[in-house]
């Protein structure tokens, strides 16, 4: 007979059993009182709990066939990670309050991040330069103001938010849709390492779990659940960030959105949110004011309002094209030729020069966007 499981070990096991989610877990707890007892219960007792079918009961009884507790504990040690349950004092109190609070969280990195108030910055994977720069600046400002910036470490806006916070020397927290040992998307490996060093990586999934369609929305509820406020920087109408915005609403968190150009598909989701009552945010001050944090609470000085980008020496032609892009729109070759009255050949060659001077980027849809914001 092996040693009886501790309460934390029992939660680790139940967290990995397929079919047991936060809601079912709560019901099981109401019946059995403690996680250890759930694992000790016989199949009959288990199936009497509402929502537990024979399959789930079987999975709970035979958890040892699908999950190795000793391996999971060893991995926790090897990675220097911890598994916190809502019973732990260090467990984020805001998250504890949500309806479908996870059974527990794997955490890798600096757990002190959780002591700070959290604000999440989320947005589209396919972003514009505008979105990237806004996310970065906002994250930097909030981090300097003493917030921990929460996001999902996805491509685009998420990554920019983490980077902004890290560059400002502040705290940032990444909630993953996979086990904490899996880096997705792979190109964010560097960012992952940086967050692991200076921030916190969090996930409810066991080691080795890979991402799939279901894990992202689950991850999103934790992002909003951890945060006092959720700021959506850029999202299309059907973007994944709209799910986070939804869960934020359900959890009663403050929802904020950054406006964009009305002709830009990538901002339509944000505009929809604002129409539906989200708070329009244009600066860090807006966020602080809304969350009722006085400026005196700030640990550091706020960054000064957006100053115009130092302009490199540009030729008259380059200047002309750059000016045509200065309103932040993403414009194709044809439209630029029309705006400037220059022939296509000149527009094409000048754009490439501007790109080499890092004033402009070419986007996957064939349009060009200027780095208008610093």
């Amino acid at each position: 007979m092996q040693e009886p499981l501790t309460s934390r070990e029992a939660v680790l096991v139940l967290n990995a059993v397929s079919g047991v989610g936060p809601v079912l877990y709560r019901r099981l707890m109401e019946t059995f009182g403690s996680p250890e007892r759930i694992l000790e219960a016989d199949e009959y007792a288990l199936t009497r709990v509402e929502g537990v079918g024979p399959k789930t009961a079987q999975a709970i009884r035979d958890w040892a066939t699908t999950f190795s507790l000793s391996k999971e504990k060893r991995l926790l040690l090897d990675w220097g990670a911890v598994f916190l349950t809502p019973d732990d004092a260090a467990f984020p109190p805001l998250l504890r309050k949500i309806y479908d609070c996870p059974l527990g969280l794997y955490m890798l990195g600096d757990v002190m991040c959780l002591k700070k108030p959290c604000v999440s910055i989320v947005g589209s994977r396919r972003s514009t330069l505008y979105g990237i720069s806004v996310a970065k600046k906002l994250a930097a400002g909030l981090a300097r103001a003493g917030f921990c910036v929460v996001s999902g470490m996805a491509r685009g806006i998420d990554a920019a938010a983490h980077e902004g916070a890290l560059e400002a020397g502040g705290s940032t927290l990444a909630v993953l849709g996979s086990g904490i040992d899996i880096v997705y998307p792979p190109e964010n490996k560097e960012l992952y390492d940086a967050i692991r060093q200076k921030g916190l990586i969090v996930s409810e999934f066991p080691f080795g779990r890979t991402v799939n369609r279901q894990t992202f929305p689950m991850r999103n509820r934790i992002i909003s659940g951890l945060s006092e406020a959720v700021i959506v920087v850029e999202s299309a109408i059907h973007g994944g960030s709209m799910i986070t915005a939804n869960t934020a609403g359900e959890q009663g968190r403050t929802l904020m959105a950054i406006p964009g150009r009305i002709d830009q598909v990538s901002s339509q989701g944000c505009h929809q949110l604002i129409r539906d009552g989200a708070i329009l945010v244009t600066s860090v001050e807006d966020v602080l004011e809304e969350l009722a944090y006085g400026a005196q609470q700030l640990e550091m000085q706020l960054p000064s309002a957006s100053k115009p980008r130092p302009v490199m020496s540009l030729s008259p032609l380059e200047q002309k094209i750059y000016q045509a892009l200065a309103d932040g729109a993403c414009v194709g070759l044809d439209a630029l030729a029309e705006r400037t009255g220059m022939p296509i050949s000149d527009v094409a060659s000048t754009l490439l020069l501007l790109e080499l001077k890092k004033q402009v980027v070419k986007r996957a849809d064939g349009t060009f966007e200027a780095r208008v914001f610093a």
């Binding site: 994977r125 972003s127 194709g332 030729a337 296509i344 490439l352 986007r363 064939g366 349009t367």
Partner: protein
């Protein structure tokens, strides 16, 4: 009695000589024997010929008869042997006496009433006749294409009766002159569709002009409805007018494929072929038991348009590589090996992403970044290697389409391209390449030299845009063409920069 006449057999687009031997009055039961690897259509010729003979007032042979199509190892196809067989029977049975002295080639399908119907390969047969210094008797419809060959007497005949009278020197048939051919009457006929009808899309038009001017292959990237096909269809119209030799190549392929049999529009122009993406490798390359030209040969000296490029089977795209390189395609079949010309300009089109709406202002694209990257990576490196210019075609708004003013007409663009081609022809006079796109490495080094500053610019661009190494020579060649269009001896910085701009598919982009 034995009669012998000359006809031809088509292999690919080349014709070779066939002797049609008819022997009547043989001892044995009354039979009609046809040998020399005839296919079903040739075998059926007996019935057509007998009916035609009786309707014109002759008799079928009343004895055992053998007909031999020599050489015996080549497969004979189609109804073109009706005419020589009928004439052979008439001669062998002594119903007519040939008074016409000069050697003649015969080919034609007979109707039951004795009228002559057009056949495939009339042009190739005329070329064969020229080689052997013979005259050629063809159905009037097929004679029009054959007449374009210089120094051959092409006798157009409408009926069997006409041919018989001609051979008995009772009635003359005037050889058809090249100038009287349908094709010559429409020489340089303008294309019914014109670039003036394409509103907007200035960037694509510029890229198209560069591509045609330098003989570069082209890839258009744009959402559905951005006018990619519309533009592609108009490209043959801005290519330099085909030289008569080029046109003979075009026509001989079309003739061998049977396209000229009932073509409504007979004019001297470059072909435009747009096979569907479900096409088989054989359909694209050519083949069949008796090798016939495929789409790439039918597009010879013209445009091969592959819409929805990523949807084509990978194997179909891979087989394109060699013809793109060589300008010819070799097909080996049991019936023999033939080499067909296939020097076409490849114009391909694709959507920007799997759903097609990336960059579309009206519709939201919901493809993820990896999906888009995977979709674009479907075009294999080696094929991409042979496409010099990539350009994005943005979706067009209704207001743009309704714009009243007409754009530049095809003729203006064609004139500019013609001047640019002349420039290249002068420069490349001593090399195999006829245009910038076909320059070999040595020629690129010689003609596309960059100044030190421009070299510096190029390396900077290669590095910063993460351009693949294969892009390097493509960019130089395209820059050369852009410089030629500007009538500039040297490649200037702006020529180079514009050329780099046309490499969307092998560089880093912002998602």
């Amino acid at each position: 009695m034995l009669a012998k006449l000359s006809s031809a057999v088509l292999q690919g687009i080349e014709a070779s000589l066939v002797d049609v031997e008819v022997n009547t009055g043989e001892i044995g039961e009354l039979r009609f024997i046809l040998v020399g690897l005839p296919d079903a259509a040739v075998r059926e010729s007996q019935d057509r010929v007998f009916s035609a003979l009786s309707n014109v007032g002759f008799r079928a042979p009343a004895t055992r008869t053998t007909i031999n199509l020599a050489p015996g190892h080549l497969k004979k196809e189609g109804p073109m042997y009706d005419l020589p067989i009928a004439l052979g029977i008439l001669k062998a049975t002594g119903q007519i006496a040939f008074r016409y002295e000069r050697p003649l080639l015969f080919a034609g399908e007979l109707g039951l009433s004795g009228e002559l119907r057009p056949i495939k390969g009339g042009l190739s047969i005329a070329l064969l006749a020229k080689k052997y210094n013979m005259g050629v008797v063809l159905p009037a419809d097929s004679a029009h294409e054959a007449a374009l060959v210089n120094d051959v007497n092409v006798f157009p005949a409408r009926t069997l009766d006409e041919v018989v009278r001609f051979l008995e020197c009772r009635n003359d048939i005037v050889p058809l002159n090249a100038s009287e051919s349908f094709y010559s009457k429409h020489v340089m006929a303008d294309y019914p569709i014109d670039f003036a009808e394409v509103k907007g899309q200035a960037a694509v038009k510029r890229a198209v002009e560069i591509a045609v001017a330098g003989g570069h292959n082209l890839l258009l990237i744009g959402p559905p409805g951005s006018g990619k096909s519309m533009i592609a269809k108009r490209i043959p119209g801005i290519m330099p007018k085909p030289h008569i030799d080029e046109f003979l190549e075009i026509l001989s392929i079309q003739s061998a494929a049977g396209i000229t049999l009932n073509a409504a529009d007979r004019a001297l122009k470059r072909p435009f072929r747009a096979p569907h993406h479900t096409i088989s490798d054989v359909g694209l390359l050519g083949g069949g038991t008796i090798p016939a030209p495929g789409e790439i040969s039918l597009a010879h000296n013209g445009v091969l348009f592959l819409d929805e490029l990523p949807e084509f089977k990978r194997s179909a795209l891979e087989v394109l590589r060699q013809p793109l390189e060589d300008g010819t395609v070799a097909i080996s079949r049991s019936a023999g090996k033939v080499t067909l010309p296939s020097a076409f300009m490849l114009v391909a089109a694709m959507n920007p992403c799997p759903c097609g709406h990336l960059g579309d202002a009206k519709r939201e694209c919901r493809c993820t970044v990896p999906q888009i990257q995977r979709y674009r990576a479907k075009i294999s490196g080696p094929l991409l290697d042979r496409i010099d210019i990539h350009v994005e075609a943005p979706s067009i708004s209704v207001s743009e389409i309704q714009k009243k003013e007409n754009a530049e007409p095809s003729t203006t663009i064609r004139d500019r391209i013609g001047r640019c081609r002349d420039l290249q022809a002068q420069r490349l006079a001593h090399s195999k390449a006829k245009c910038n796109a076909r320059m070999e490495n040595a020629e690129i080094q010689q003609h596309c030299a960059l100044s030190p500053e421009n070299s510096q610019l190029m390396s900077q661009a290669m590095e910063e845009l993460d351009l693949s190494a294969r892009a390097y020579t493509k960019i130089l060649k395209v820059a050369r063409t852009i410089a030629d269009l500007a009538n500039s001896t040297d490649i200037a910085a702006n020529h180079l920069l514009e050329a780099i701009q046309y490499r969307s598919l092998d560089r880093q982009l912002f998602y």
